[in-house]
């Protein structure tokens, strides 16, 4: 019973990792509708997934850069999204 249980869990983990790899590799081609999005658009769409969209005047440009790195580790946004959002907030 325990061996079967362990096998199942191993398959689940391998399956999940396989999905991550497959989707990551296939994701090299980014849709134009996505790549043309502005920082303001991405700010409105991604920040509010968890909380209210932040006021750009809350932090200084240097602080926004640091906050952007922290938030990327939480929301798992892409590097392009992070850079565009931070650039918008720094204005």
């Amino acid at each position: 019973m325990k061996a079967i249980f362990n096998k199942k869990i191993t398959f689940v983990i391998i399956g999940l990792l396989g999905m991550v790899l497959a989707v990551t590799v296939s994701g090299c081609k980014v849709n134009e509708a996505i790549s043309s999005k502005t920082g303001a658009q991405l700010w409105g769409e991604n920040c509010r997934r968890c909380h209210n969209a932040p006021d750009p005047n809350t932090f200084s440009p240097e602080q926004w850069k640091t906050v952007g790195m922290h938030m990327q580790t939480r929301a798992l946004i892409t590097n392009v999204e992070r850079d565009k959002i931070v650039a918008f907030l720094q204005q």
């Binding site: 999940l16 990551t24 991604n46 809350t58 602080q63 798992l76 392009v80 999204e81």
Partner: protein, 430 residues
């Protein structure tokens, strides 16, 4: 006579040297990018040694590699509780009203957590969040993060386990729209642990995906009753096995408004060199969120369902029914879930557009047949007033029913406790 001549000579020489020291000073000055020697002497016209004053350098907008800042959150509040206990007896239900309590800053509902963020360079971030809550000082996370490649982030330290979305993204008082956390989350052992983590997000056509995998010390098993706990930040791993936790998130909508996630966890929990050394924990979770904002309303739906399984083992019965029957076993399976809905008007009126209404239902069932078996059902409703994007004032009501079953073998008597709680809470991110 010689003495007088000597004294007068020394005095004259001393005064000459002293005079020379005060008059002939040498000074080096930097003007622009050149150094100038200035001889301040009454016989020298020092103004001739200066070049025309250079124009001040232009202001350059400079960014710095290293940056340190402190943010954080603070939550305080007031709550009023009135409770009733009900016990089924052979003669009927016995109901006991418990004394009403009210308290500022009840131990479970305040938090002061400054977060120290140090951007070491463009690729490295150090995070540390101590927390004063639940009557003690603790650590929420302390880690070093390395942004290796686009979509690949490595982290090491005391990290939040990537299981579900609540602990990592939604638990902060200024984010959560209700004064409390769901019982399915507070009853789960998932928290922070020492280990390493690999995570990232990736655009895939019109969709996005994200992944988060961690290898940590893992949970500890109680040899008394088989319950699972998250180890303390100071604890040393209780066995050689490590725990794998992972979450895969999928954002199918173009505007990232929908996210569906699946999480898994597996690892040994029993102490090494004991009868429980092979006891393992497996957990799974599904999470969902939908965020919608279009005049005249913004809607937010979040849900998460978790299950936890611990492989079978026997535990000592504290109240054995017979002398020979001193151990017992049970199916160590627990599960819980929550669903939250909030709505906020998008209108011109400043007062009404800052108001948000939220309701949530959560339930948690601990393992049936265990010494800690119970069921919790939690209904929460509240109103938020957003003073600004990160400052919120909440008023909430909660009904929490905890039901313990009859279990003659473990000498547990049935009990149904109903708590009604009124919350007033203020939470700020700083």
């Amino acid at each position: 006579m010689k003495q007088y001549i000597t004294i007068i000579t020394i005095a004259l020489l001393t005064s000459t040297f002293a005079k020379a020291q005060t008059k002939d000073t040498i000074e080096v000055q930097k003007i622009g990018d050149k150094y100038y020697v200035i001889v301040d002497h009454p016989k020298v016209d020092t103004t001739k040694q200066f070049a025309p004053a250079p124009a001040p350098p232009p202001t350059i907008s400079k960014t710095f590699d290293s940056h340190f800042m402190v943010v954080g959150l603070a939550t305080i509040g007031f709550l009023n509780t009135w409770s009733v206990n009900k016990v089924n007896t052979p003669t009927g239900v016995v109901s006991t009203k418990l004394p009403t309590t009210n308290s500022f800053g009840d131990v479970a509902h305040y938090e002061f957590s400054p977060m120290f963020l140090w951007r070491h360079s463009d690729n490295i971030l150090v995070e540390f969040e101590p927390s004063f809550s639940n009557g003690s000082l603790g650590v929420n996370w302390a880690d070093i993060t390395y942004f290796a490649y686009p979509g690949v982030i490595l982290r090491a330290g005391y990290i939040v386990l990537p299981f579900g979305t609540y602990n990592k993204r939604l638990a902060a008082g200024w984010i959560c729209k209700l004064p409390t956390d769901p019982v399915s989350i507070t009853s789960s052992p998932v928290g922070s642990d020492w280990g390493i983590e690999l995570e990232g997000g990736q655009q895939t056509g019109k969709m996005k995906v994200n992944y988060d995998v961690a290898l940590t010390n893992g949970f500890t098993l109680s040899a008394t009753d088989g319950s699972i706990a998250n180890p303390d930040v100071n604890a040393v791993d209780n066995n050689l096995g490590k725990t794998v936790t992972g979450r895969f998130g999928w954002l199918p909508a173009l505007n990232s408004g929908v996210e569906i996630g699946a999480s898994g966890l597996w690892g040994k929990a029993g102490d090494a060199n004991t009868a429980y050394k092979n006891v393992s924990t497996a957990m799974g979770a599904l999470d969902f969120q939908w965020v919608y904002a279009k005049k005249p309303v913004a809607i937010n739906i979040k849900a998460e369902a978790d299950m936890q399984y611990v492989t079978n083992a026997s535990y000592s019965n504290p109240n054995p029914p017979t002398v020979s029957d001193t151990t017992y076993t049970y199916k160590n399976l627990s599960y819980g879930y929550y669903g939250m809905f909030s709505i906020r008007p998008i209108v011109a009126d400043k007062f009404f557009r800052n108001v948000e209404f939220a309701v949530r239902y959560s339930s948690y069932q601990s393992p049936k047949g265990s010494a800690f078996e119970n069921r919790q059902d939690q209904i929460s409703a509240g109103v938020c007033y957003w003073i600004n994007w990160r400052t919120v004032f909440k008023i909430g009501y909660e009904n929490l029913i905890t039901t313990n079953p009859d279990n003659n073998e473990l000498a547990i008597t049935n009990l149904k406790n109903t708590q009604n709680i009124l919350y007033v809470q203020f939470s700020v991110q700083f």
